[in-house]
Symmetry: C2
Subunit: 297 residues, 2 copies
């Protein structure tokens, strides 16, 4: 990772963290325990891959800063809500997230459930704020985020994942599941970033960007599966080896470790080359794909 | 209840039921179990008080039919999601709703959790649909619904409710809790209905309508507490006597049964009189307040 890219990431992460803190209900505001849980589960951790993708895609269109940060926050709040609910005992029943106790362990199940619910609401509320952009543009962004999050996107992918435990999925079935579960929101992050400029992308540009976004969504998951198998719990900040233990189909269980690694590399190269036509404006996106492919956590 | 009012209610309920069925994911669409749970928890039951309020308030402004039904559905989907999550074992742990097994009993906890999540998403998605109204108007409606549903509205009220079990609340504390937990969404229903016309209400009209909406929200809860204490489980379609058994503060525990009934009657009269200036256009709203006050279930 170049120094320049590292410094860009640091700047974005700091802006996102500060804005999240500002846009979440204040410490002590009633109901204090709910708000504490919302802040606990959202602030001070996470790779912020989705906000980074919003910012990086925003480089293609000279994104307006106020739209870009709202989009970045909205997509991260959806992600944060999904993690709280995924970790609940009735779902993955996990106790560790971002190196800390999961929300329901730190608080309680009911508070964690409501914190997830309210974070989802807050995501849509942020994008509906008056004057953020032309109203039509805001509606497009809202619709895009909702489609990616709902029963045909992220939440639907969770349901397919639940139904797949102990079942031998083939590669197309596994890719459909991940395209919904993690891919849809990653894709939304990229498209939201590209919606933050004055001008929209051309149809051809949008198609190339969308191809990139889909490849990166899949890449993210393949690398996640590799790390789940090769990294340890401390490095990951979440329980390692869980998918294998739960008899969940993964790219590693399907392809084997080495082939999964090669597949990740292929996806990365495919993602990169789809951005060739954008020139230097796509450097941040390419850098992020590199980071997602070669990360160790 | 007059024949005319009864027939109006029947027409609205049929329109809402058909539109909900159409706007929810189709039977069999993948993930089929999640979609079945979403449909199970939303269709074929419920008093539909919130959609009725949207339609009734719409009478004040000659509401456009396509906006009115979208608003009615959005608010009902938020309500349906909240009921699924409220009934979960980590919340109220209830097995009966609308005379049938609750969603997590009929399906499973994980599916019920995701069904609630995806219904919330669908509510916002509906209001973001392109071309529903002027885009600015749609954003206002989205913001209104989000504020009413989030941590300072419905979800926040649930958190205050959880924190209040076994604690002696006084009347102002109880009213604040209910103003958030049930009042905020009922108020949103009324204001959304009034946002469905070509012209907005004047500030003075809006203030009177808002007073009505707040009174009706409170009235709904007081009557709920009375019925929880006096009606049986079969009539209610949900477990009767639960709040008392759970040592939750209610208007009956606070005021006594007779005083709670008188309080409901006072709220009804106050709500009615705040609509006096609207003339016959407010007949449906008045009729609904009457229905909410004097219902037996």
């Amino acid at each position: 990772m170049s120094k320049d890219f590292q410094s860009w990431m640091g700047t974005v992460l700091a802006e996102v963290e500060a804005a999240l803190s500002e846009q979440l209900p204040a410490v002590g505001a009633i109901p204090a325990r709910l708000h504490a849980a919302m802040r606990y589960a959202t602030l001070g951790g996470g790779k912020r891959v989705r906000p980074l993708l919003v910012f990086a895609a925003g480089e293609l269109v000279e994104a307006r800063p106020e739209r870009r940060i709202a989009a970045a926050l909205a997509v991260e709040l959806i992600h944060a809500y999904s993690l709280i609910h995924d970790d609940l005992p009735c779902m993955d029943d996990d106790v560790l997230r971002r190196g800390r106790p999961t929300c329901h362990v730190e608080f309680d199940e009911a508070t964690a459930l409501l914190a997830g619910d309210a974070l989802q609401t807050r995501a849509f509320e942020l994008l509906a704020a008056p004057g953020l952009a032309e109203a039509e543009r805001q509606l497009e962004m809202l619709a895009l985020l909702a489609r990616a999050s709902g029963s045909l996107g992220m939440a639907g992918g969770q349901a397919v994942d639940l139904a797949s435990v102990g079942k031998p999925l083939n590669q197309p079935e596994l890719e459909l599941m991940h395209a919904m579960k993690t891919g849809a929101l990653i894709r939304a992050a990229v498209l939201l970033g590209a919606a933050c400029g004055e001008q929209a992308l051309s149809t051809a540009e949008r198609e190339r960007l969308d191809h990139f976004a889909k490849r990166v969504g899949l890449l993210f998951q393949v690398v996640d599966d590799v790390l789940d198998c090769t990294a340890n719990t401390t490095t990951l900040g979440k329980t390692a080896g869980k998918d294998a233990a739960a008899d969940k189909p993964t790219y590693v269980s399907l392809l084997g470790l080495e082939a999964a690694r090669r597949y990740a590399e292929d996806l990365y190269q495919d993602a990169r080359s789809s951005l060739a036509g954008f020139g230097a404006k796509a450097d941040r996106l390419t850098g992020l794909a590199d980071f997602i492919c070669h990360r160790q956590f």
